[in-house]
C-alpha cells in the first residue's frame, strides 16, 4: 500500500473515533428515565466514523497538492501572526495590535512596506471608529495605554 494523505487521515480519524468512544464510555450518568442517555449517540458516531475511515484507507483518493517548503514557512508565519494578534489584542488594544498585525500580514501577502504600513494605519484607525462608534462594539483600548485614554 502506498502512503497517501487519505490513509494517514484515515488512521488519524480512527484514533479520534477511539478517543471519542472511550470518553463517551467514561461518562457518569445520573439516574434518568430516558432510555438512550448521552453515551449512545457519540458511540454510534464513532463507529460510523471508523467504518468510513476504513473505506478511505482502502480506497484513498488522489493526494492533492501540498504547499512546498517556502509556502509552508509562510503559512506558519501567517498562523503565528494571527496567534500574536490574539495575544496582543487585549494587551496593546485594538488599534496598536491591528496596526502591527495588518502591516505584517499585508507584507506577507506581497505588499511593499510602504503600502503595507498605509493599509495598517488606515484599517486600524478607521476600523476602530467604525466598530465602536457605528456598530457599538466595545473593543479593548489596551492595558498599556489605558492610563492615557
Amino acid at each position: 500500500m502506498r502512503i497517501a494523505a487519505d490513509r494517514v487521515l484515515g488512521v488519524a480519524l480512527i484514533g479520534l473515533a477511539a478517543f471519542i468512544a472511550v470518553q463517551a464510555l467514561q461518562l457518569e450518568i445520573p439516574f434518568s428515565y430516558e432510555p438512550v442517555g448521552p453515551k449512545a449517540f457519540p458511540l454510534g458516531l464513532s463507529i460510523l466514523l471508523t467504518l468510513l475511515s476504513l473505506v478511505m484507507i482502502f480506497r484513498p483518493g488522489d493526494n492533492g497538492s501540498w504547499p512546498h517548503k517556502a509556502l509552508g514557512l509562510r503559512l506558519l508565519l501567517v498562523l503565528a501572526l494571527l496567534l500574536v494578534y490574539a495575544v496582543l489584542f487585549r494587551q496593546l488594544g485594538f488599534i496598536v495590535s491591528s496596526l502591527l498585525v495588518v502591516t505584517v500580514l499585508a507584507r506577507l501577502f506581497d505588499a511593499t512596506w510602504g503600502k503595507a504600513l498605509i493599509t495598517g494605519v488606515v484599517m486600524s484607525i478607521v476600523g476602530y471608529f467604525l466598530f465602536t462608534a457605528a456598530l457599538g462594539i466595545s473593543l479593548p483600548s489596551g492595558y498599556l495605554f489605558a492610563s492615557f485614554i
Binding site: A5, L9, L13, I20, A24, L27, E28, I29, P30, S32, E34, P35, V36, G37, P38, F41, P42, L45, L49, L52, S53, V55, M56, G61, D62, G64, P67, L71, R74, L75, V78, L79, L82, L83, Y85, A86, F89, F94, S98, V101, V102, L105, A106, L108, F109, D110, A111, K115, A116, T119, G120, M123, S124, G127, F131, L135, G136, I137, S138, L139
Partner: protein, 504 residues
C-alpha cells in the same frame, strides 16, 4: 392561504427592512465578487455584526438572505471576467462566460447573467411561495421519529450529490455532528467533551465555528495564490454594456427550464447551487447544442447555469423554512443565525412566527428586483472589485473575524478556538473535503440527537418507532436508495453493455 405573504410584505416594506434588503444586496454582490469570499464567508463575517446591531430576528434574516442572494449574483463576475469561479455555484458559469468575455462580449455576458439570475430566482421565489406553506402543513404531522428519518435522508442525499467524494462528504458530516456534541447534554445535564474548560460548557459557539472554518481557513488558503497571477488580474474590456433583448429572448428556453430544474434541485436537502449549475448546463447542452457551440461562448450555455444556481439558492430555503433542514451549506449558516435568536425553523414557524417566514419570502421578491437594478447598470463598478489586491483583502478579513468573535463574550478563548478551527478547516480543504457537510452536520447534529432520544423516550427504548410510520419508512427507503443507486446503476449498466459486447 397567502395571508402570510401579505403580512410578510408589510414586514419587508418597512423602511428599515427595505434599507437592509438593499444594503444586503449591495454588500452581497461585492462579497460575491471579491476573490475567495463566497456567500458563506460573507454571511459568516456579517452575522456577528448584524447580531450586535440588535436587529429583530426578521430584520437580520432579511439582511443575511439579501447578502446570500446577492453573493450568488456577484460570484459570476470573476467566472466571466477571469475564468475563476467565485464560489462552487459559479463553476459552470466559466464554461461559456469566459469565452464570451474573450470575444469582447464581457458586458453583454454580465448583463445576460444578471437577467438569467433574476428570472431563475423569480421562478424559484414563486415556487417557494406556493410550496413552502403546503410542505409546512405536511411537516406539522412530523414527530421526532420522522424528523430523525428526514435528517438521515438529508445526509444521504448530501453524500451522494455534494462534492466529488461521497465518503469524504459523509466523514465531514460526521465530524460536524461530533462537534455539535461538545458541551452540556440537554437530555441529562452531563458534560461531554469539555475537557474541564468552562468555556466549552455551552458547546462550540456557532459564530466561532463558521468564522474559523470559513474565514480563517480562507486566509490560509489565499496565501497559496498570493504570488500567482497578480498581473493576470487585469480585466478584459467589457465591450458594449447592455445585452440586447434579442439575445435574451434567444435564451428564454434555457433560462426557463434551468430555473425550474434549479428550484427542484435546490429543494432537495443537501444539494445546492453547484449541483444545479452542473445539471442544468449538461441538460441544456444535450437539448439545444445543435451546432456544437457550447463551451465556445454560447449565450445559452451562460444563461442556463446562472438561472439554475440562483433558483437553487432560493429553492434551498424551502426545506430550511418548512422542515428546519437546510438545503445547502449557506442555508445551514442562516439556520444557525435563526437559532441565535432562539427561533427553530420548522413547520411551526409559519404559524408561530409568520413575520419571520413571510417577511423573509417577501424580502426575497424585493431583494431580487433590487439586485437586477443594481447589477445591470453597475456591472462595471462591481467588476473593478476583482482588482482589489489580496494584501488589502486578507487583513480586512482577519480584522472582521477577530472583532466578530471577540465581541461575542469579550473573550480571548473564543479567538484561540477560532484559530484552531481555522487550521482544522484548512487541513480539511487541502484533503479534498467540502466544508458544507461539516457545517450542515454541526447545525443539524444537536437536533438529530434530540429527536432520536425523544423518539426512543416515547417508545420506551423500542427502536422500531423510528420506522413505524409511513412517512419515516418512506424516508428511510429513499435514503437507502440514494446511497445504493449511484453505486448499483453503473454496475448494472456495465453488465448490460458487457453482455451486448459479447453478442457482437
Amino acid at each position: 392561504m397567502f395571508d402570510f405573504l401579505i403580512d410578510g410584505f408589510g414586514v419587508a416594506l418597512t423602511p428599515l427592512n427595505l434599507g437592509l434588503a438593499f444594503f444586503g444586496a449591495l454588500l452581497g454582490t461585492l462579497f460575491g465578487a471579491l476573490p475567495g469570499i463566497g456567500p458563506i464567508n460573507g454571511i459568516a463575517i456579517l452575522m456577528p455584526l448584524a447580531y450586535t446591531l440588535g436587529l429583530p430576528a426578521e430584520s437580520s434574516l432579511i439582511l443575511l438572505a439579501a447578502v446570500y442572494t446577492g453573493a450568488e449574483y456577484g460570484g459570476r463576475m470573476s467566472s466571466i471576467l477571469l475564468n475563476v469561479p467565485g464560489d462552487a455555484g459559479a463553476v459552470m458559469t466559466t464554461l461559456d462566460g469566459y469565452p464570451l468575455a474573450q470575444k469582447g462580449l464581457a458586458g453583454p455576458a454580465l448583463g445576460l447573467s444578471a437577467i438569467s439570475s433574476f428570472i431563475g430566482a423569480t421562478i424559484a421565489i414563486i415556487g417557494l411561495t406556493l410550496f413552502a406553506p403546503l410542505l409546512a402543513e405536511i411537516a406539522v404531522m412530523f414527530g421526532p421519529a420522522e424528523f430523525f428519518a428526514l435528517m438521515i435522508f438529508a445526509f444521504s442525499s448530501m453524500s451522494v450529490m455534494m462534492g466529488k467524494d461521497p465518503i469524504k462528504t459523509a466523514i465531514g458530516a460526521v465530524l460536524g455532528v461530533l462537534i455539535a456534541t461538545v458541551g452540556i447534554d440537554s437530555g441529562s445535564g452531563v458534560l461531554r467533551y469539555t475537557f474541564g474548560l468552562p468555556e466549552l460548557y455551552d458547546g462550540i459557539d456557532f459564530v466561532v465555528m463558521i468564522i474559523g472554518l470559513f474565514a480563517i481557513s480562507e486566509i490560509l488558503l489565499m496565501l497559496e495564490h498570493a504570488h500567482r497571477s497578480e498581473d493576470d488580474g487585469k480585466l478584459p474590456p467589457l465591450g458594449r454594456v447592455f445585452v440586447s433583448l434579442k439575445e435574451v429572448i434567444a435564451c428564454k428556453g434555457a433560462i426557463g427550464r434551468s430555473g425550474l430544474l434549479g428550484f427542484i434541485i435546490g429543494v432537495l436537502p443537501g444539494t445546492g447551487a453547484s449541483v444545479a449549475g452542473a445539471v442544468s448546463y449538461t441538460t441544456e447542452k444535450r437539448l439545444s447544442d445543435k451546432d456544437n457551440t457550447f463551451g465556445k461562448g454560447d449565450m445559452r450555455g451562460l444563461a442556463a447555469p446562472e438561472s439554475a444556481n440562483n433558483a437553487a439558492a432560493v429553492g434551498s430555503f424551502v426545506p430550511m423554512l418548512t422542515l428546519g433542514i437546510p438545503g445547502s451549506g449557506t442555508t445551514a449558516v442562516l439556520l444557525g443565525a435563526l437559532m441565535l435568536y432562539n427561533i427553530t425553523p420548522g413547520p411551526m414557524m409559519f404559524t408561530e412566527r409568520p413575520e419571520v417566514a413571510g417577511g423573509l419570502i417577501a424580502s426575497l421578491y424585493i431583494g431580487n428586483v433590487v439586485l437586477l437594478m443594481l447589477n445591470l447598470p453597475l456591472a462595471g463598478v462591481f467588476a473593478r472589485v476583482l482588482t482589489i489586491p489580496r494584501w488589502v483583502l486578507v487583513p480586512a478579513i482577519a480584522i472582521l473575524a477577530f472583532v466578530g468573535v471577540y465581541q461575542l463574550h469579550s473573550d480571548l478563548f473564543a479567538i484561540y478556538l477560532m484559530l484552531i478551527i481555522g487550521v482544522f478547516g484548512y487541513l480539511l480543504r487541502k484533503l479534498g473535503f467540502s466544508l458544507a457537510p461539516v457545517i450542515l452536520g454541526y447545525v443539524l447534529g444537536g437536533l438529530m440527537e434530540q429527536n432520536l432520544r425523544r423518539a426512543l423516550s416515547i417508545s420506551g427504548g423500542d427502536v422500531g418507532i423510528l420506522w413505524q410510520s409511513g412517512i419515516s419508512l418512506g424516508l428511510w427507503i429513499a435514503a437507502a436508495l440514494l446511497l445504493v443507486l449511484p453505486w448499483l446503476v453503473p454496475k448494472l449498466l456495465s453488465k448490460k453493455s458487457r453482455e451486448e459486447a459479447q453478442q457482437d
